[in-house]
């Protein structure tokens, strides 16, 4: 029994997702260990993003259960919750493959929006805040402090008042992660965080993820295409192909699994040996 099975933050059980006649995910089960960085990998079209969309409530799974166990002990069945409730109550946050920032708002504003729910409570659902009652002002200052904290972490504090759309690709990626962190998640789902990043930006991303895991008691699950990123930072790798799990284990285990090699080379399993020989790996 591996470490992620002992104390999982999220248990995915028999997850199946069909669109019309097409089965995008078929009977998928795996666990995400608490405090781990888990990578979900697989060739394009393997169904990784669909898994994310099920976890974060954007799709309702056809079958299966998603059990989120908060550190306080409460359990949430994600497949039954509305998408915004999953972030608000179950404390699962996500980023998107094609970055979804609020481009016309400033970087600071992006981080403030992420703290919407606590601020709404502090402003007595706007009424108190509108009348200028004290509690809101204090919370607002605290929210700005939180935002500043994250801006310093992602090194954007000097550009806090610039529109998010003006940032470079790599900065946008990190801002999106910081924004997700501002919701105070216990599980952070990152959809291809390293796509399109140059080596320097990739490195910064790795540092940020390590920091989040270490300092914030947040488990991370990420989708990645590029294997090198995954091998470096993840504790646990789950490999999908055609919507089914073909491998699950430590990075070392996964990268020597012939199924994985075959899937990545785009060849049949029995071809692997021959191909390896041919290209000398």
């Amino acid at each position: 029994m591996s470490s992620w099975d002992n104390n999982p933050v999220l248990k995915v059980e028999h997850l199946t997702m069909r669109f019309g006649g097409l089965t995008a995910i078929n009977d998928l089960s795996f666990n995400i260990g608490r405090g781990d960085i888990t990578a979900l990998i697989g060739p394009n079209g393997a169904g990784k993003t669909t898994v994310f969309n099920c976890i974060t409530g954007f799709y309702k799974p056809t079958e299966g259960r998603l059990i989120m166990a908060r550190s306080g002990g409460e359990k949430h069945l994600l497949e039954r919750m509305a998408d915004f409730k999953i972030t608000a109550d179950a404390k699962v946050a996500r980023t998107f493959q094609n970055i979804r920032l609020f481009g016309g708002m400033t970087i600071l504003e992006n981080l403030m929006v992420a703290q919407h729910n606590p601020l709404m409570v502090a402003s007595n659902w706007t009424i108190g805040g509108l009348l200028g009652l004290g509690g809101y002002k204090k919370s607002n200052v605290e929210a700005i402090e939180t935002a500043k904290y994250w801006l310093e972490r992602i090194d954007l504090i000097d550009r806090a008042d610039k529109p998010a759309a003006d940032l470079s690709y790599g900065d946008q990626r990190r801002l999106e992660i910081a924004r997700a962190m501002c919701t105070g998640p216990e599980l952070l789902c990152l959809d291809e965080p390293a796509a399109g990043l140059n080596p320097k930006e990739s490195l910064e991303l790795n540092t940020l993820l390590q920091y989040i895991r270490k300092e914030h008691d947040t488990s991370v699950v990420l989708i990645e295409h590029d294997m090198s990123v995954v091998m470096e930072i993840s504790d646990h790798v789950v490999v999908l192909d055609y919507g089914v799990k073909i491998s699950d284990g430590t990075p070392d285990f996964v990268k020597n699994d012939p199924h994985v090699i075959a899937a990545y080379l785009g060849v049949e399993d029995d071809e692997v040996g021959q191909v390896e020989e041919e290209v000398g790996i």
Binding site: M227, V267, E276
Partner: protein
């Protein structure tokens, strides 16, 4: 083979999506009769390059020339009437048209006189399509859609065929079929093919020459065999399991 004037010549193009720069000055040549492949990771800018050749989006700097003529700022539909055809990323089959209608759309540029003949050849190349001619594009399987996308591009009788990730999301056996078809087209008809791939192994085996793209720039070039044996290429793209 790589002598004389290239059929397609890309010089220093820079392409932007809004403020984000996707290509940082790319140079690339494709000669008549070649299969050239461009490999690189997701988001490296491969598809952007291919779309820039077709004028959508247009390059902000640099030039694209085809048969010696500058086509950088021509409208897309005019470029596509000069003998370039593309099977784009994600296949982009018209989902609510039948297979036959999709092929007719492809054949529109070529006019009517060769239609029957071209159709017959497309069906010879991909017999599956013949069985499904009256089926709607959206109901085809991924592999069939890919075949249809290639067949549709061929219906315009191109001199230069641009293929964007034909292997995407397909089972290995189908990928092999499609690559065989590409090889066959090149060998028997002398069709020039420019192929964008993530599936580096098969692509490099198929191609005469290859380019490697990282973050919007070309970092390596050489024959398919050369690139296949380069350590950097291996490290970047074949890292599936073993070192």
């Amino acid at each position: 083979m790589t002598t004389g004037q290239p059929l397609l010549s890309v010089r220093g193009i820079k392409t932007f999506y809004g403020k984000i720069q996707a290509l940082h000055g790319v140079d690339l040549d494709v000669y008549e009769g070649e299969i050239v492949t461009l490999i690189g990771a997701n988001g490296a800018g491969k598809s952007t390059l291919m779309m820039t050749v077709c004028g959508t989006p247009q390059a902000r700097n640099g030039s694209v020339s085809y048969c010696g003529e500058d086509i950088t700022y021509k409208p897309t539909y005019e470029i596509m009437r000069t003998g370039i055809a593309q099977s784009p990323e994600g296949r982009r089959i018209f989902p609510r048209m039948t297979v036959l209608e999709n092929l007719m759309m492809g054949g529109m540029v070529a006019g009517n006189e060769h239609f029957e003949e071209d159709l017959r050849r497309a069906f010879e190349l991909f017999p599956r399509l013949k069985e499904r001619q009256q089926q709607r594009g959206g109901t085809l399987s991924g592999g069939e859609q890919q075949m249809l996308a290639i067949a549709r591009a061929l219906m315009s009788r191109p001199r230069l065929l641009l293929l964007d990730e034909p292997s995407l999301g397909l089972a290995p056996i189908i990928v092999a079929q499609i690559f065989d078809a590409i090889r066959e087209l090149n060998r028997s008809d002398g069709l020039t093919v420019f192929l964008v791939e993530q599936n580096a192994y098969h692509a490099l085996k198929l191609a005469h020459r290859g380019y490697v793209m990282v973050n919007g720039t070309i970092t390596m070039t050489g024959t398919g065999k050369e690139l296949l044996s380069r350590e950097e290429v291996k490290a970047a793209y074949l890292e599936g399991g073993a070192h």
